[in-house]
Symmetry: C2
Subunit: 408 residues, 2 copies
């Protein structure tokens, strides 16, 4: 098999450089190599690399012929992927979007789409003797790695900003992780995590650095295609922080085309927070991605200096899509719609996608009749501080008449 068969380095200016001898290089130190750009793994694309037979909710290993895995059996114990593609009737009605779907990534072991990358990297790690795995994180990646490492019998060392959300920190510690709080925010945590991985020989799960993270994330695109009856949608809307979730989505759809199973890719709509939009800014100005301020409730996409910014801009442009940004208020309102009409509990960064869709519709960048998939990347069960009361509380003493009156 020998996969992946080749690779590219994508530099910050968008230029690409072929990387030799990749087939022999699975397991080598991608992270160090990757200092020079974003490494992208490529395969000898042909129809047989896509799964045949009906999809029933199978997990991400269904796509193993398009993943950097050898032929050993999967030993990672937590099933991941195979998440629902929900056709939400009440959301469709309320928004007037008859062909809207929600790809619900809140169903993973740690309730976010990060569980895909965690699974692939730990599957690779389980066949090595290395005990420690590391990442930097604004929250969800570290929770995911803490949970996954526990299952895999590894030790997670997660690097976070000193002001990481308390609710997410508690979950890392519940799972037994060693949590390193770093002064200087996410960017400093990212640098120290990478330096520690190199210095101590740990496995580096840093998003955008280890190319397996993008490989794992692309399986969500492959699932959407299968769940829509082997058709690609017109538009896919994705929250964008560091960039790899969008980049993975784009890569998945490109590979479906490369394997001959589709003529086109969907337009990608990347959504950033108004309070932190370096990638959208670069896309608008045509300049390089430059560091931005970060002031948003959406910790999952609050990345001032994104690792995969250039790749994300390239992917959106190639797809014919666009970037939009949304305010915290718009995210909270999208959380309300998803919870009260969709039955989907989304955290602010996840609800950003639906909020961004509403902006794109308003600006006629997306049409209401198009086939639209909104990626819901993480659960509000981990962000209790942003839950709002859209229902109401009635207090009664056990009397039916009092209840009738209160209900109105």
């Amino acid at each position: 098999v020998g996969k992946p068969t080749h690779a590219l380095l994508v530099h910050d200016d968008g230029s690409e450089e072929a990387v030799p001898d990749v087939a022999a290089g699975i397991g080598r130190d991608w992270a160090t190599e990757n200092e020079r750009g974003q490494l992208e793994l490529l395969y000898d694309y042909r129809p047989e690399l896509l799964p045949s037979g009906q999809w029933h909710g199978d997990g991400m290993w269904r796509y193993r012929d398009l993943l950097p895995l050898d032929d050993r059996p999967i030993s990672y114990p937590l099933p991941v992927g195979g998440t629902p593609l929900i056709a939400p009737p009440a959301v469709r009605d309320e928004l007037g979007l008859p062909n809207l779907w929600l790809k619900d990534e809140t169903r993973g072991p740690s309730a976010s789409n990060k569980d895909r990358a965690t699974a692939l990297i730990l599957q690779q790690a389980m066949t090595s003797g290395t005990r420690r795995v590391t990442c930097a994180s604004t929250g969800n990646v570290a929770v995911s790695l803490a949970v996954g490492a526990a299952a895999a019998g590894k030790e997670a060392v997660t690097f976070v900003a000193a002001d990481v959300a308390a609710s997410k920190l508690r979950l890392m510690l519940q799972s037994g992780a060693t949590v390193v709080k770093v002064e200087g925010g996410y960017e400093a945590a990212f640098r120290l995590s990478r330096a520690a991985a190199r210095e101590f020989g740990w496995i580096d799960r840093n998003t955008g650095v280890n190319p397996a993270t993008v490989e794992a994330k692309k399986t969500a695109a492959l699932e959407i295609w299968e769940q829509l009856g082997r058709e690609v949608p017109d538009v896919v809307v994705v929250p964008v922080g560091d960039g790899p979730t969008l980049h993975g989505m784009a890569k998945g759809f490109r590979e479906i085309v490369a394997c001959g199973a589709s003529q086109r890719v969907p337009r990608l709509v990347g959504v950033q927070a108004e309070g932190c939009q370096p990638i959208k800014h670069a896309w608008e100005t045509g300049e390089r991605v430059r560091p931005a301020i970060s002031a948003t409730i959406a910790d999952g996409i609050a990345v001032s200096r994104p690792v995969s910014g250039a790749a994300a801009v390239r992917d959106v442009v190639r797809s014919g899509g666009c970037f939009v940004s949304v305010s915290d208020t718009q995210m909270l309102d999208a959380m309300r719609i998803l919870a009260t009409r969709g039955g989907v509990l989304a955290e602010p960064a996840a609800a950003a996608a639906l909020a961004g869709l509403l902006v794109a519709l308003e600006r006629r960048l997306v049409g209401a009749g198009e086939r639209i998939v909104v990626l819901v990347t993480g659960s509000s069960l981990k962000t209790p501080e942003f839950l709002r009361a859209h229902g109401r509380v009635i207090e009664v003493d056990g009397d039916l008449d009092a209840l009738r009156e209160s209900l109105g």
Copy 2:
């Protein structure tokens, strides 16, 4: 098809009474009828009622020939069931249990096994014009109904005790439910919810009252059987509050036997909290189930006056199993094992099952070599107040040498 074909009322003293004309009665007011006992739906069992073909993570509708559904397509929008059966290597090692599995019910839309019953009852409700659905709840049932009703375009009216966990109340309100706080605890909430359903014509989703709740819960047993390669395990360990989770599990395994696909059922181990164990007490004394005090952190199984107590005792006795009880400390320790060795985030009531297994092993009621399935009923993402720090926090200023020293 005409299913179910017949039914029994199981009275509080364990006696059974045939119910006529059930085939015509799907959709009738089971709840009112059920005042006289626990209604149990039965089918004309034969091998064809079980699904054929390989299980790939399919949801609970895979078992629709054994569910009280007509032939209309499923319109409930949230996929439910098809949850992982995890073979957790590090938990197996730590506990010396080579044939242990975790049935991870935390992967539902509201992260508990309650989502199965919610799905079935809302699927039935979506074909009716009734707008309101109701339940009483110690927490998880109401969160599940709030989320499910939102997705189904219905209005949830949930009845809870005044001291319901704030974290669960927030989720009900986020999903737009009308929450009725009732003085007098869960039992008073239960009575008022049932009375309101009768008086106002709402759909009654009360666990143990609407027999569809048990029908839905039994699908977890059918999945376990398929996930083990169409074999039943030796032992299944289940947390017990009101009783229907255990009753559903027992019924599922009995139906596999009735369909001719197994010679035996597993032994069921029912686990109650030391602070609230009316069913275990009845099993020990041979007397009726009597109201008990409730003093435990495990709100999910803190039921003083259980609805399905008699059925649960009967089921455990018939299976050759037993009841055990566990302290809050034992539950917290089981949460630690599940989180740090299994990568499974279980709330106290859910971790009670693993804690109870350890008690049963200690007392030689279960053998370490047996094939054991532990049901993990709900996620600790909804009980942040019971998370504990099993890992550690290190604070550094971005220096690798300082980090090396701190790590030791």
